[in-house]
Amino acid sequence: MTIKQLSVFLENKTGRINEVTRILAQHGVNLYAFSLAETADFGILRMIVSDVEVARKVLREANFAVRLTDVLCLNCANTPGALAEILDLLAREQVFIEYMYAFSEGETASVVIRPTDIEKGIATLNRADCPFVNFSTLRQQQK
């Protein structure tokens, strides 16, 4: 039901993000989605990648602080209102969302959600029959 998200702590200085993407590229790791949370003096880069374990290993070797987090990844139609429907479900059940990001390709859109209570998030979305995405479907979609 969940998918592993990789997050990396970054100091706010020029060139740090491309350092991360360059290292991942060198090791053949593909980025499916990412978002950057920024504050006045640091940033947190959150990524869904093709190979979490390799990515974690190579980034740690390069002295990055790396963390794996369970997040929910869902597919929905790439049409107006599709995301609103999902968010309505979560809101009705009082599922608080820490952060989320989304990407779309053709007719489908995928959305990554980090609820405070992940179990409750899964249960809520399951009841509504929302299609969760796992790594193999992600890989399929990317091809």
Partner: protein, 433 residues
């Protein structure tokens, strides 16, 4: 004018006799009332009777800030707490502050010492003082405050912060004298210029500056931008607070209140006394202190002593400007900060690696302190709010230990240099011109 000509202009010979007599009584007092000193003297095979004149002072043991810490909080007090009427505290070398206590007599001596300073600065009971040192545990605010009252002048207890209100009150109450740190005086000069209040509407004529090292160039800048006479006042809480020494109209070294505080200069390496004129570490013995009398307290301030008589008529020994420190203490916005204090906080918080770096700078005449720390890997979060909470945790703890706010910068793992032994953990970018 001279507040106390009897003491301030005493012949050298008489002064040495008075100092010797006071030292004898002091040694007797600490030997019988402070176990720390009794043990130290016994280790050296000394009894109070061995101290006959001021020259015998070299037989006595030194006292350091570490000794105050080891005897925290009251172990070096020489009187019962019922005799103590006030407590002050300054930065300790680690999490614990250095606590000092004053008897009613100690406070009288303090006010007297400051009245001597104020008169040497050319102020009288006609003056209206704005005291912009911090009021509270720091000795600057309350020390100056009671000295001004003792002189019979008016005091506006402004304390620190709220510069706009400060300028307004100085203007509206026609303040003529200002006591603050030299860097704050420079900042205030800028803010007054920005406020649009014409300089001729301010009555300010004298600045009493201390709490941090400053230079002749800063004096020139303060005097020209504020149109004042600027004088140095020196002190430290362990000895008393501000008023241990002060400049006169000659502005050529600070006169030491020698009938209460006996100065020596030693080599910080060999601890041997150095002759007048040579630069070394300043050491004070509190000849008349009752609450927490200290023998040969090592200030760690580097300066020299001037024995030549001063043109102002005072006969007391003068000290040069403080040229630096023999330890790693920093003075930031007038507050003493030891890198070891930061270290103690980093070590006590499990979320952080035991490495840190301090970056000290001066921006628009105000000191800034940035503390760089690394979060331990297990404590990194993908959530901004969690990372901000970590930052706040160390920021609050540092503020409470240091007494000043620091800007915390969370660094990537291994980005702070790991060094063996005494490391370059401090980057002080301030240049005192």
């Amino acid at each position: 004018m001279i507040w106390n000509p009897t003491k301030e202009c005493m012949s050298r010979e008489q002064m040495r006799l008075l100092q010797g007599e006071r030292l004898r009584k002091l040694v007797d007092r600490v030997y019988h009332n402070v176990p720390f000193y009794r043990h130290k003297m016994q280790e050296r095979g000394l009894i109070p009777g061995d101290i006959a004149t001021i020259d015998d002072i070299v037989k006595l043991p030194f006292t350091t800030k570490q000794d105050l810490r080891d005897n925290y909080p009251h172990g070096l007090f020489a009187v019962p707490m019922s005799e103590i009427v006030r407590i002050h505290a300054s930065s300790g070398t680690t999490g614990k502050p250095t606590v000092v206590g004053y008897t009613r007599h100690d406070l009288t001596v303090w006010a007297e010492a400051i009245a001597r300073c104020l008169m040497a600065f050319g102020t009288t009971r006609e003056d209206i003082f704005t005291v912009a040192y911090g009021y509270g545990l720091f000795t600057g605010g309350l020390g100056l405050h009671y000295g001004v009252e003792h002189l019979g002048a008016t005091v506006i207890p402004m304390s620190t912060g709220n510069t706009a209100k400060h300028i307004q009150l100085m203007h509206d109450c026609e303040s003529t004298a200002l006591a603050c740190t030299p860097s704050y005086a420079l900042y205030l000069a800028e803010q007054i210029a920005k406020s649009g209040i014409p300089r001729e509407e301010l009555r300010l004529r004298v600045c009493i500056l201390g709490g941090e090292p400053w230079t002749e160039n800063m004096r020139t800048e303060i005097e020209s931008s504020l149109h004042v006479d600027a004088y140095n006042i020196y002190g430290l809480s362990e000895i008393m607070g501000p008023g241990v020494s002060y400049e006169c109209e000659c502005k050529s070294g600070s006169h030491i209140v020698e009938d209460h505080f006996y100065p020596e200069i030693i080599s910080p390496d060999t601890l041997e006394p150095l002759p007048y004129g040579e630069q070394g570490e300043l050491v004070f013995t509190t000849l008349t202190k009752e609450g927490i009398p200290l023998l040969r307290y090592r200030t760690k301030d580097l300066c020299s002593l001037i024995a030549e008589p001063c043109a102002c008529g005072r006969t007391s020994v003068r000290m040069s400007r403080v040229m630096g420190r023999s330890d790693d203490m920093l003075i930031i916005r007038g507050v003493n900060v030891f890198p070891s204090q930061v270290e103690s906080v980093v070590l006590e918080l499990p979320e952080f690696e035991p490495h840190y770096r301090l970056v000290v700078d001066r921006v628009n005449n105000l000191d800034t302190l940035q503390v760089q720390v690394e979060v331990r890997e297990a404590f990194y979060s993908d959530e901004v709010s969690q990372m901000m909470a970590l930052k706040k945790r160390i920021s609050d703890r540092l503020h409470s230990v240091l007494g000043i706010a620091a800007d915390i910068k969370l660094m990537e793992p291994h980005s702070i240099e790991r060094s063996e032994g005494k490391s370059q953990r401090v980057d002080d970018r301030r240049v005192l011109k």
